[in-house]
């Protein structure tokens, strides 16, 4: 509709242009042709109509209606073709699979070579077609569907396009990877369905592949196959000759899998879509080991039966049902003697589920087992587990060599209970994220290939393997290496000041006595007044720089100024004159031992107010600490970047608007990213209410506390959690208050009031 409007407006504009009528100018903006026509008529009309005779009037009206009709017809003609065209497209969209063009394969058309086992990304893959890409994302092209038949007209595949492959291709087509421009594609996916080798005619399929217009010996082509091989040997990779094409295969063995080239994928289980198994909460399960496969080799079954004899009820060994009532689907029932169980629901009743190899290595049951949150016990020697390139299967499964089958009970008993529960959660998460649909399988495959082509932008282990619960609660500090930085080159003191020059100068003089001070940076936050002349500043031994800010904002204190050349930053207010040089130097030493934390002097606490049902700020003399005030605190310069560029939500603006709580915000930020509490150093001092600098008078104290409490609640809601950690300790020098000569202590002057 809007498109119609737009075009009619343009057409009207065109009419105005053609007529040049000045009166029509404004009209063109609002209306379409009919109005335009009448305007044209109107412009000459006034002189015309009064003189008109009645006999002409009929003719006139008739003509006018003809013109109007013509107009409408033309208009319709104008805009129909579009709709007709798109309707045609639409109907093409809704066409049947059987309408796909038919391609007849000549009997002697070429056959690709067998897959080259030595293929690797750097030898068989053409990276130039992927190239550098700012988004670090490969482009995937899908060939349009065609129906291949041999010379006699027999199709090359008995299923044609399968439901699963169609889902897979739609998913790729809907994803960010997709392109319809073959020349921009990095990866090409044929629409020839080779998921199940059993339904294929191998030779003819190969010929069909070779006929693809961009085949080029299979370079950058990706084939998806889940059931490889056929009787009697059951190869572990697709038997269709495929030149250099990459294979995403289910059931690779270590001998057919080309590491770093092929992708091992799961065998999709149609039960995933049919059955809805809600995630089972952790807790005891009825059986310890469950075997539910029906087609087991008798040797395996014999061994499992022996296992059952030894361990009784803990092991449940199921088989096909011999006498099912009518209407029951045999693939959805399992039996033990005369007992009948629903499959796959029964899988949820067991801690461990056996997944033995069959004729093929990859088994669809693996997907069912994961869905049930049962820990798979995989016995399939040389099997390459699905997506093993990125998934850490040791956290979700137990892989046991086949000849250790008789020992599985002992082996599994050795796994701690808590670990089993975690593995169950992990198994279910793998299914949720990577197994549940053809879409998940397809996009995971593409992501793995994407990670190989742009390794520097690859997803990390944590992203692949941590379930959402863990991703939420876990902490991966950006400063994770345990380093104790050397004492030199010291720290940079950043003093935020407005206009209290006298107090500022005293602070500067005091700080300059600290041995490890490397530089002093004064952040002049007053735009109306210039800082005092250079000659008036106290003379100190370290460089002193003054930065003038553009706006009086609290966040200026945490800006990562280039002038800060040390890692350690001491943020200090212009009225903190009570800290001794020993205290500051000791604070720096403590920071060196905890460079990833805030190390500060006055400590504060957050409390949960049960009555009000919200957080409360506490500055009383408590036994606990969860924040340190940044009126005097050491921290890593990295946190300046975080504060300035990575602060979540609107916290930064909130702080600047309220002219308060920048220190609480900093405490939240650091605790959230490191998962660690700040460190309060040295005993309590009588600070001149360092947090109420902007407030005068005692009566405002109450308002101040309310405001600070509000900040905590606001930040907690922005972070979505309460990241602050409460501790009961503070750091003192080793010999603080010990009976030891003061002269011999490194930091004697600590705690004096």
């Amino acid at each position: 509709m809007s498109a119609l409007w737009r075009s009619s407006e343009r057409a009207a504009a065109a009419c105005v242009r053609a007529l040049g009528g000045p009166a029509a100018k404004w009209l063109s903006r609002i209306v379409g042709f009919s109005m335009c026509a009448s305007v044209k008529y109107g412009s000459r009309g006034p002189a015309l109509i009064p003189r008109m005779k009645t006999k002409h009037r009929v003719y006139y009206i008739a003509l006018f209606s003809v013109v109007l009709l013509g107009l409408i017809a033309t208009g319709a003609f104008q805009f129909w073709p579009h709709s007709i065209e798109s309707a045609a497209e639409w109907s093409v969209d809704r066409r049947s699979v059987h309408d796909a063009p038919l391609v007849r394969l000549p009997a002697n058309s070429p056959i690709p070579e067998r897959g080259d086992l030595s293929c690797r990304m750097h030898t068989c893959f053409n990276v130039y077609s992927c190239g550098y890409n700012p988004k670090n994302r490969i482009k995937v092209y899908i060939y349009p569907l065609q129906r291949y038949v041999d010379e006699l007209g027999t199709p090359i595949s008995s299923t044609g396009l399968s439901r699963e492959y169609n889902e897979l291709l739609s998913a790729i087509s809907d994803s960010d990877f997709y392109t319809d421009d073959v020349s921009r594609a990095c990866l090409l996916v044929p629409s020839i369905d080779v998921l199940n080798q059993n339904s294929l005619r191998v030779r003819e399929t190969a010929q069909a592949l070779a006929m693809l217009p961009r085949w080029d010996r299979g370079t950058n082509h990706l084939l998806f196959n889940m059931l490889p091989g056929g009787p009697p040997d059951y190869n572990t990779a697709l038997d269709v000759p495929r030149d250099k094409a990459l294979l995403a295969g289910g059931g690779f063995s270590t001998w057919t899998y080309r590491q770093g080239y092929d992708v091992s994928i799961p065998v999709y289980s149609p039960l995933s879509a049919e059955v809805d198994l809600p995630e089972r909460p952790p807790g005891p399960r009825r059986y310890f080991i469950l075997s539910s496969q029906t087609a087991l080799h008798r040797e395996y079954r014999g061994e499992l039966e022996r296992l059952k004899e030894e361990n009784g009820e803990a092991v449940l060994l199921l088989d096909k049902c011999s006498n099912l009532s009518q209407g029951a689907v045999s693939s959805r029932k399992r039996c033990y003697k005369s007992q009948v169980f629903d499959y796959p629901q029964i899988l949820q009743e067991s801690s461990f589920c056996v997944v033995l190899r069959g004729a093929r290595l990859g088994q669809a049951i693996l997907s069912d087992v994961l869905q049930a949150g049962c820990v798979p016990v995989i016995l399939a020697d040389s099997y390459i587990l699905p997506f093993s390139e990125v998934l850490d299967w040791k956290r979700a499964s137990v892989v046991i060599p086949e000849d250790k089958l008789p020992e599985i009970y002992t082996i599994l008993k050795g796994i701690p209970h808590r670990q089993v529960e975690e593995m169950q959660r992990q198994a279910r998460w793998f299914w949720d994220a990577y197994f549940r649909s053809m879409k998940a399988i397809g996009l995971t495959t593409l992501q793995i290939i994407n990670d190989r082509i742009y390794p520097y932008a690859a997803r990390s282990y944590e992203q692949w393997n941590n379930p959402p619960v863990v991703q939420w609660s876990s902490v991966n500090s950006p400063l994770f290496l345990p380093l104790i930085p050397p004492r030199s080159p010291g720290f940079t003191a950043v003093v935020l000041t407005y206009d209290r020059v006298e107090s500022l100068f005293r602070v500067i003089t005091e700080i300059s006595k600290v041995p490890s001070l490397a530089k002093l940076l004064v952040v002049w936050n007053n735009q109306n007044k210039s800082p005092p002349e250079e000659s008036l500043w106290p003379k100190i031994n370290v460089p002193l720089k003054v930065v003038r800010t553009k706006e009086n904002k609290l966040s200026n204190r945490f800006f990562p100024y280039d002038e800060i050349e040390t890692e350690a930053v001491l943020a200090i207010d212009d009225d903190i004159i009570m800290l001794t040089s020993d205290e500051l130097q000791f604070g720096y030493e403590v920071w060196r031992e905890f460079p990833d934390r805030l190390v500060g002097y006055p400590g504060r606490l957050h409390l949960w107010d049960h009555e009000m049902g919200k957080w409360k700020y506490e500055s009383e003399w408590t036994n606990e600490v969860s924040m340190v005030l940044t009126g005097a605190a050491f921290y890593h310069k990295y946190f300046n970047y975080l504060y300035t560029y990575k602060m979540p939500g609107d916290i930064k603006n909130w702080v600047d608007a309220h002219m308060n709580c920048e220190d609480i915000a900093m405490n939240f930020l650091v605790a959230n990213i490191t998962g660690k509490a700040p460190i309060k150093v040295t005993p309590r001092k009588k600070f001149k209410c360092p947090e109420c600098t902007a407030i005068d008078g005692l009566s405002l104290d109450q308002t101040h506390m309310v405001e600070r409490s509000e900040c905590i609640n606001k930040f907690a809601s922005v972070f979505g959690t309460m990241p602050l950690k409460v501790v009961e300790h503070r750091a003192d020098p080793v010999l603080y208050k010990d009976d030891f000569p003061e002269k011999l202590k490194s930091f004697p002057n600590i705690g004096s009031l």
Binding site: K676, H729, L744
Partner: protein, 737 residues
Amino acid sequence: MQARKKYVLLTVCACCWLLLVYWGGIQVRLLRLLGQPRTEDVRLWPEWADQELLLGFADLEELQADELAGESPQQRRQAWSGIYRDGRCRMETCFDFSRCRGRDGFRVYVYPPEKGERISESYRKILASIAESRYHTSDPREACLFVLGIDTLDRDQLSAQYVPNVDERIRGYPLWNDGRNHLIFNLYSGTWPNYTEDLGFRVGQAILAKASLNVEHFRPGFDVSIPLFSKDHPQKGGERGWLERNSVPPRRKYLLMFKGKRYLTGIGSDTRNALHHIHNGKDIVSLTTCRHGKDWEKHKDGRCDHDNLEYERYDYQELLHNSTFCLVPRGRRLGSFRFLESLQAACIPVLLSNGWELPFSDVIQWNQAVIEGDERLLLQVPTTVHAVDDEKVLALRQRTQLLWDAYFSSVDKIVLTTLEIIKDRVFSYVSRNKLMWNALPGGLLVLPEYSTHLAHFPFYYLSQGMSPGQEFTAVIHAVSPLVSQSQPIMRLLQVVSKSKYCSQIIILWNSEKPPPARSKWPPMPVPLTVMDGRKKTTSRFLPHVAIETEAVLSLDEDTVLLTSEVNFAFLVWRSFPERIVGYPPRSHFWDPVKRVWGYTSKWTNEYSIVLTGAAFYHRYYHHLFSQYLPPSLRALVDHTSNCEDILMNFLVSSVTHLPPIKVAQRKQHKEAASPQGAKNAPWSNPEHFTQRQECVNAFASWFGYMPLVHSQLRLDPVLFRDQVSVLRKKYKDLERA
């Protein structure tokens, strides 16, 4: 007439108008075609009208009835070992698992080198590492893995280190068995001009631990790729990484650097010949010299003289220190020394070595520590490294240090990592997961025999969103017989059991006398277990299965403590679960005159040890103490009945690289011990002190470096000794004199 004229005019106008509309319409259509972004017109995969009718790729019956017909699986497995051999070896076909049964199943035997055998420095170090490791056995019958006494490191026939006739000699080994369960180390294979992977003898079914392995020859899950290391690589300990601080912004003076040879001809010259193209003399420094080999001037080209000059202008070491990224292109072989060099220098390696199976690629996730480039895309490298943001640089750089320190800094670590990887394959169901290998403190310090569960280790709490347990187990080391109810141990039992965090108490009975009857012990609110310590000092750190909590409070029988002291220390431990948290501190220092390490128990301003006579730590350290440390060190401790606490501090600091934590204490430790106890007490003996000094040096030499780290702080309760009412204080007892 006039009217008709007007009608005609009107009709003409109308027709014109109609035409106009028609043409205008055309314009509109064109506009629409041009104006819309192409992406909206993307031809998607069609939504088929009959897609509901499509067949499944396989029906359920077919998927479930995938029966392995015919031959028995057992026979098939046996047949495999005949088919998949040599180049297609895998653990299940070429390795005899039956040699590695039982708990201590993984034993490594080294063939004694023959007399007069020439062994290179590097191989000597490898053999020494194995001999000193806890897996070594001198009995070939109990061995699971065999290592040759013949030096196979350098298989370049032109090299002076080349050992001839290896084939004949190994066939003479009665246990060779076509290489089954043998491990062969190699650094250099092949020779000019092709540098093939050929070792010059038949490797058969032996596992190769080889540098510069090519992915095509690598037998996945069987061979181990090791890094190329120089003969000066330290046997033990090894230098730490060069990264001292995480400076921000993390970019260094140069963005990318390379300084090395340019091969004018031969293998590897494709890449090396092109490296000079990316040199811009500003942030990217790529220097090549043609000067190498004897006849370089023969192949010399126009660039050589200019490049050689430029090459001399920069110092390699200086570039290493000052560059954010370091190019690590292939040499003649795929691996090069500069890989380890840049890893140590925290210069993020940018690999240009197509087909190189990276060292320990089985377990290490290299994409988190290096940039894997493609030789074919050399000219894209500058753009790629430019695009890596600061956050990522910071992470990559720290990870280089983590890996260097965990796996590469010494020959010992390289060899042990190789053995551990093989062991993880042999006992695949009790092995480390990828997280354990790639997170701090590294796989070598995580023993899967203890547990494979992340929550059981002190290292992964934060990364898994967990927190340490709320309870602790007290382990009391008792040496004196129980004679009176007023003995210090009785008091200690009372104090500890009163703590609300205490869940059980274990008494390790190490006295000459047999343990007293159960009734002699006072009644307790928590379970009390008495265990026999077999009079060994190290028994206090045995991995007692009885300990059910993560936290252990280790106590001497004569320790004087208050319940609130215990409670406070436990809460501190919960903040630092990977460290030792204790009360009385000690310190070590370097004595430059005697050139030995010194030990002091004097009051000093810093400390590096806290005594384990009263300390909290994670129970995993019990396991590490008894399994990771060599028997020789534990024997030393048992023999002298001393130093077990120092050894524990060494161990924990070597794991964490951090100092222990001392917490506030009411009065000096052990001051109040009974006079008669003090007389017999070992620490009153001057010899005791000398012994401890010797211990420090013995331990430092086994570790190969001094792991202890000094700290200057003590953690006190928040209101400790503050001038506020005692009533406000939670730990007021601590302040009573």
